[in-house]
Homo-oligomer: 391 residues x 2
């Protein structure tokens, strides 16, 4: 195990009706003037926004609003939010939504006290301060409610890049699984694929002797495999929604990924797809991950056989472990299909002719380092080959 | 799943040589005048205390010392510590040791600003403030390095009781597995039994549909079963020590126990043993847990069969699930024996004639409520029966 530090100071409030406590938590954590930042109209339509406003009113906390955070959130809205927060002397941002609203809120939060362009942080500049953030989660997916990271797409060039820092961790996150019951099936499934991908990015490692994090990762995968089909069948299954929601947070606050090298090639390969075609990030990952697995399986057949046996319940083929490894990959593919996820470029709306360009941007675009991944370092040619496996 | 809140704001610093950063972390978290609180002589003899002092000197942080925290830490030393902190205007307590030193430090920390008797908090008074705490862990066991709880034994009457609160959570905890390599085998095994017990107390629940926390608990048990025998064989196996240390924290900061009723009967039953005979808490738990399991197995045979199959790899007997349930209990017993843990009263130094008294104190002693446990509520007679199963 490698040396590490782990810090997850977010106060999580989990369960039914918990959004009614939003005002009390903003007050507890010192907010007096709030930006309510959210995405689509659904927060308005469902009445969630009104309930949150009411809870702020009860604590005499004032607020301004900024909606419009979209999937694969954009830099344009971040600039608008920064300007608004400065103008209105906002001291607390309450994000209402999924990873998009939360990541956008984080970008605004670090942009407000910074004199330069907030994009600098997404190009590697160290994050040292930001205004306070809280979240009300409406989809189990990105894990941003418990992480210090944020991914934003810069509209000029459509670069999708990430930033991170301890001050970007939400002070509190309200997780009410009921709020996820009205999601369209495709969004539920995409969110679930994103959670599974967060676990797999940590699972595929070259670090040896990491039994505790291996087992923790496997336990979350087993949870997802058991619970996601339940919500696909019955969107109102509160209990399954709750299990998925806690798994989604746990998968990405890094408690299951400490002390080991992590991969993240598939996320980088996917980012070009969602930047280019604006597809759902999780759906993109459902296409990328099996392809990536097939491309790198020979690097450590036994690790693939381990996940196949422990998670997918495959019988170990001791004469030919690669058979087991490949069966595990097949199980993952079938699982994604069973929950309605796409399997190829066509279903994502992606085009073969863009492969070279996307692989090039993944390797050499804004702030890229010439390769992606750590389990296996992949150059532009490798990435092109992986994209081709998705045709 | 039940509604819950989860808060684990401790900054964990994990790995080799990390104790040399103690001074830097005390400074980062605002400490200027430190109480170094530790237990036996081993921190002094091993040179650990000197290394920590050196790191404080480097940051120009002054300190006073208080050693002598013993297993099953006592109220007497807490009073001494409170007096010393007030006298010396200490603003930060750095505990160096295991659960005993840390729990003692927590009691001192909440006692300093409180005008009354600190024992009030161990009788149910709400904890609202305390001076800051950091820890340097030297044994994987109690999980106090990541929890908001503390257990202290009151010398008058030998009552062993607990207190808890968010301000009792360490601001930082330094976890260096190397520091555990010099532990005697019996202490390593007792600590491991304590970790296993923390998981089992959470596992046995009447709350339904808790797949994610079930799976997380199982993953930690699987880790312990795999790693503990390695350190019993080779005390210097750093990697196994590291896996156990992270499992020990994760088992008790409650991330694997949220949203579900927890049991805690076995801890209460054991507390009377370690209060009465001063045996190692973990060793006591190794004797109590299998007895408790046999006594309550019929309450939910399938839950016992689940742990037997998922954790111990038993074949499910579908005609008679209780056979599987009992096999799982047998596996746990054999595991404890294999790592040198006691199995009965005699090996613990406990006496049959004290059974009635201990069961009475567990039910009706200082701050007790007339029963123990939630999975099955156990009255005095039940507890006596469980003690008798340990003869």
């Amino acid at each position: 195990m490698e040396n590490f530090s782990f810090y997850s100071p977010t106060y999580f409030v989990f369960g039914k009706d918990t959004e009614s406590q939003a005002g009390a938590y903003v007050k507890k954590f010192g907010g007096t003037r709030v930006l309510l930042h959210y995405g689509s109209n659904s927060a308005e339509k469902s009445g969630l926004l009104d309930r949150v406003k009411k809870s702020l009113d009860l604590e005499n906390i004032t607020y301004v609003q900024l909606g419009g955070a979209q999937p694969n959130p954009r830099s344009g809205l971040v600039y608008t939010g920064i300007k608004l927060c400065r103008q209105e002397k906002v001291d607390f941002i309450l994000a209402i939504g999924g990873g998009s609203a939360i990541d956008s809120a984080k970008a605004i939060a670090i942009g407000v006290p910074y004199e330069g362009d907030f994009w600098d942080f997404y190009q590697g500049k160290e994050v040292v301060e930001g205004i306070k953030i809280g979240t009300i989660l409406t989809i189990a997916a990105a894990g941003s409610e418990g992480s210090g990271g944020s991914v934003i797409t810069k509209e000029e060039g459509m670069f999708k890049r990430s930033a991170g820092g301890d001050c970007m961790r939400p002070l509190f996150s309200i997780l009410n699984p009921e709020l996820t019951q009205t999601l369209p099936p495709y969004q539920t499934a995409s969110g679930s694929a994103d959670i599974i991908a967060h676990i797999l990015e940590r699972y595929f490692t070259n670090t040896k002797n990491v039994e505790v994090t291996d087992r923790l990762c496997e336990s979350l995968l087993l949870t997802m495999i058991n619970e996601v089909p339940k919500v696909m069948k019955d969107p109102n299954d509160y209990e399954a929604r709750a299990n998925i929601m806690w798994a989604g947070m746990t998968a990405h606050n890094n408690i299951v990924g400490v002390g080991r090298q992590q991969d993240w090639a598939s996320h980088n390969i996917e980012h070009e797809l969602s930047a280019e075609y604006d597809c759902a990030h999780g759906a993109g990952l459902a296409v990328v991950f099996p392809a990536w697995m097939k491309y790198v399986v020979d690097h450590d057949v036994n690790r693939f056989a381990q996940i196949a046996t422990r998670v997918w319940g495959c019988q170990m083929d001791f004469e030919n472990p690669k058979n087991t490894a490949l069966k595990g990959i097949e199980c993952l593919e079938k699982f994604f299909v069973s929950i309605g996820m796409p399997t190829n470029f066509k279903e994502l709306g992606a085009k073969e002719e863009d492969i070279t360009k996307m692989a090039n941007v993944a390797c050499f675009g804004d702030n890229a380092v010439g390769y992606v991944g750590n389990f296996v370092r992949l150059n532009q040619e490798d990435i092109e080959n992986i994209y081709r496996l998705m045709l």
